[in-house]
Structure formats: C-alpha cells, structure tokens
Symmetry: C2
Subunit: 336 residues, 2 copies
C-alpha cells in the first residue's frame, strides 16, 4: 500500500523560474518564460553543456527574483536526462551548494520537489533549498535516438523533448504557495518497448499514483491534476482508465486532468507529434503557467505528477520493457 | 556553509546484506558476503540485467533476515552506475515499493542512506524503508571504457568497479545500529579529466566534506572514518591534505581513515591496480565488514563518506573536468 505524507508544517515555494529555447518560445507559453535563447545554445559550444548552462541560468534567475544568494540555500537537488546526470552536476556545481543528485527521468521535477520538501522537513537547521530540473532536445535526441542532424523520421506517437529548465526555491517561511503532501509513486511496468511511445509506457504509472492518492482524497477539492508529459497518446489512455476503473471519482479526476506536454507547445502549428516531454517540460510549465495561477488564486489546490519513463538505450536494446513512475505532490495557495 | 543535520530521533539500521561476484569472493571479505555468484551473471543473460538481479537479491536477503515482506517497506531509494540507472528500476520494480531514484555515482550508497533517513524523519506515517545500491564490473567497463572482452590495458591509477550490491533496511524502531547525523556534501571540481584516475578526482570532495563536518565535531570520538572508493591514489591525496591543512585534527582523522576500495580486494594478489570502486563497493564493504563491527560494539561511532565521480563518457569526451561529491552520514551503536 502506498502511504501519503500529509505535512504538519507545509513547505513554501518562494521563487521559481523557467528558461527555454526556440520551440518553447514559439509555443503558447513563450512569453511567460523568464529567459529564452532561440539558438538553444545559451552561449555554449555543445548541446550538452547548453543544458547545464540552462540549469545554472534558471537557478540564478530564481535566486535573483527573491534577492537571494547561493549562500542562502542549504541544499540543492537536481536531475536531468543526460547519462549520469552531468547537466545538473556540471551546470550547478559552481554555486557551491550541498547537492543531492536524482534520477527519475521526466518525473524528476516532482521527485525533486518531493525530496527537497522531505529534506527541509527532516532537517531542523535547513531553512531553504532549491530544486532544478532540465532537458535539452538536441542532447536527448542524440543520446536516446539519433542526432537531429540525421533528420530521422519521427513516429506519430513520439514526443518532443523540451529544451527547458525550471528552478524552484523552497523554504520554511510563509509565502503564498505551499506544498502540503506528497507520495513518491511505484515503478510500474508500462508494457511498452518502443522508445518513441513513452506516453503509453507512463500512463499506467500515472494511473497507479492517481488511484492511490484519490482513494483517500476527494478530487473535487482540486482545481487541476497535472501530469508531466503523457502527451496526447498517454493522456487518452490515462483518462480512459480513470473513467472506466474509478467511476464517478475517475470522471471527476479526468475532467480536472491536464498534461504539461500538451500545454507547452501549439500542437496544431508546431511539429511536436504527440506533445512535449523531458524533465524540463513539466518544470517549465509549472513555473511559467501553473504556479502564477496558484499565486493569483485562480487555482486553490493542484496535484502535480511529473511522469518518468525509466529506460536507457541499453535496456531497450536488450528488450526490456519501459517502466514508468509518477511521484505526486500537492500544491496549494496560502491565504496570507 | 554546509549545515550538518543532527537528528533528534535517530533512524535505525534493521537489516543489511551484501551480494557479490567472483573477484569479491576472492577478496578478504569474500566469506562475509551473503551471496556470491562466481559467474557474475546471477542467472541472467547480460551483465546489465545481472546487476539488476543482484539488487533484487540483495533486497530480498535483507528482507528475509528480518522476516519482512516488501509490504513492510514504505519507501525504497536506489541507484547505480548504468545510464539512466536502469539496474535499480529494472531490478527492483517487481517489489512494488514506492520508489525514489538517485544518482550520486559511487557515492550513491551514502546518498541513499541519507535520503532514506530524511524520508523516514519527514514522514510521520513511514515506519520502514530500504536503500539499495549496485555496480557491475562488466556493465560499467563496457559503458564507461571498453568491453572487457577487448582486453584493454589498464593504467596504474585505474580502479576496479566492484560487482556487488548492498541493501539496507532502515526503520524507526530501536535496534542496535543507528544513523544520527548527515551532511550531503558539495560538488567539487576534481581538476582531473582522466576517467582512469577517479580517486584523485574524488579526493578533493572527500576532503571538503570531512573538513566541514569535523570543523564542529571532534574526530577522536570516532572509531573509523570510511571513504567509499578513493583507492590508493585518492586515499594518499586525502590523507596528505588532511595532515597539511587541518593540523592535529587532520592527523587524527587521517589515522582513523580507511577506504572501502582498499578493503574489498587483496591488492597484492588480485589485479585491481589502485583498488575497488563503484556504487557496490562501499555498499558491500559497509554491510559485510563494517556494520557487523558496529553491531558487535567494536566500533561505537563511524563516519561514512561514499565518494562519487560525476562524469559521463560524453562529458569526458567534451573535455569537462570530473567532479566529485562525498555525502556523509554518522552511524553509531545503540546501547540496548
């Protein structure tokens, strides 16, 4: 059985930022990003280093928004999609903040917020920390599939790895957005071997976490249930499962469900196939679109489940199934 | 400044296990492992799947030692060296335990115990969880360097990635070993670009964490300060730095220092060059050699710093420095 942690003392989201590239600027959230580089290189010579630099810029912007310095942060958690998560360690080590590296594939945004919340709660003398997550389309494509220069044909179920990073500064002092509960989620066999069909692989994990959380929580108290990057294929699988298996509750959840991978791009006019994906997808949608709406009071309570497909080119090559995971956190507005 | 978390309520190590391969069985700790497969394959067809199976076996053994079932665990944290940490997710998902994936390279054993301690402390309704870490020599060699079948010449500074896994079950009920404090450690530039000289790259991070922790703690209260896998090269750099920079305290720490990479193998008679390494190195040394000595009272208080070299073949290929990280936890015997 999955246990949900309801925090006696919430942890507050003090500051957040979104950094993105060309396609992200062309999407409906383009003008909500804090920084865009239409060259996708952020001044670096390789896509891989560009991703690390995006992470660095995102954290810098989040710090500056709240007039904080790196010394004000007691702990930094971060992750990305590159082998051995080198974008996070390489991009962020110059801040000199105590560091925990995470790997949750595209679920890392929620996993990071969850682990950071736990670290702040567990440690009396921590007052503030940051979670940073990134992905880069060109770095991911050449690592997981083929370099984009090859111009490989993409299948209709494939998703577009976002070139984006999001940074979130959390603390114990009261502010207008708070994290009130969390649940890590189980690793679920997605019964899919096609790395161009990640949405299907992750839909079962999203369903598993949603079913567990809402077995003891009323979905009608929520304004939004946001998954990370199921895209159009995974979202329709999830919504069908919810309606079929969870009755009235499932239909309520389904009506409240949106997917960050379907919010980041204009799917009609951008060539994204089944939608956006990547660690940076839910991170940048959360900070550019969702948290401002929590801050303004438009959303009073939301559940966030970034979704991760746990696989490597090696595991797919050896015929392993793609596994999914969907950690969940609840974010609420604070009446100040 | 790095903040140390001293726990009001310690978290207890209830059960632990070590699984290893041929070279591990030949080393001085061989007869202390719970399970050895001299074929290194653990019944699987590939080295990569063998690593996942090692993780599964290690957790199963740790559960059985304490007559626990997977349902008794509220949370599982795990990590390994394979791209996208697929050994951990692939090997452990069948347990169905809520999961957090970590990436701290060879520091993952300590990082996992640290994050698990924080999760148990932060969540009132978690009573018990597990941390599992693994590495496999043949999977690591063909991923990071060359397949072992090529018979490439190894340099004198190179280390031997352990084929080993360790599992640790932690809980809140009093038992005879406890974790009392932790400090995540910063990511430190190792100023090394040679992936066959990891010990040097990690020595600076180990020094950074040790200097921070013992700036406010008396090393003479410790019986052992165990690093993860600095090997002979990194250990001598660390000990020289300690003696030169930290005066009397540094000499005390140096005299208490041992390295798991120098304990796992018989360096005179096994062809390991500078010593053992890998996520499984410190994990298996901790569970086979060290924790039994804490349990018996031979060690009253130890500091564990598994050391991680944060790099990928891509980052090394692009000329990036290898970064180091050394999270620290303190383990003590409990007078029952």
């Amino acid at each position: 059985m999955q246990k949900i942690t309801y925090l006696d003392k919430p942890v507050y989201i003090e500051s957040f930022s979104a950094v993105g590239g060309l396609e992200e600027s062309r999407g409906p959230l383009g003008d909500k990003f804090d920084l865009i580089d239409e060259k996708d290189l952020f001044g670096m010579k390789t896509w891989e280093r560009a991703e690390g630099e995006m992470s660095r810029l995102a954290l810098n912007i989040a710090l500056n928004k709240n007039k904080l310095s790196p010394d004000d942060l007691d702990i930094l958690v971060a992750g990305d999609l590159q082998n051995q998560c080198v974008a996070s360690s390489g991009g962020l080590f110059t801040f000199g903040i105590p560091f925990l590296g995470l790997y949750g594939a595209c679920s890392t945004c929620t996993e990071g917020l969850l682990v950071l919340t736990a670290m702040l709660t567990a440690s009396k003398n921590y007052s503030r920390g940051a979670s940073v997550t990134s992905s880069h389309n060109c770095a991911a494509e050449r690592q997981f599939r083929t370099p984009i220069e090859y111009g490989a044909q993409r299948t209709p179920t494939s998703q577009w790895t976002a070139t984006a990073a999001g940074a979130f500064i959390l603390g114990k002092e009261k502010s207008d957005i708070k994290i009130t509960s969390f649940m890590p989620g189980r690793v679920i066999d997605g019964y899919v071997k096609d790395q161009s069909n990640m949405g299907s692989a992750m839909a079962l994990a999203a369903y598993d976490s949603i079913a567990a959380y809402f077995s003891e929580n009323d979905p009608s108290r929520f304004d939004l249930i946001l998954t990370g990057d199921l895209g159009s294929v995974g979202s329709s699988i999830l919504e069908e499962m919810l309606c079929e298996k969870l009755g009235e509750n499932g239909r309520t959840i389904s009506s409240l469900h949106k997917d960050a991978g379907l919010l980041l791009y204009d799917l009609k006019n951008q060539d994204m196939h089944a939608g956006g994906s990547g660690c940076g997808c839910s991170a940048s949608v959360l900070s550019s679109l969702i948290l401002p709406k929590v801050k303004s009071g438009e959303y009073k309570r939301i559940a966030l489940l970034s979704t991760g497909a746990l696989m490597s080119t090696g595991s797919v090559g050896q015929g392993d199934h793609i596994l999914g995971v969907a950690p969940l956190i609840v974010i609420e507005g604070e009446d100040l």
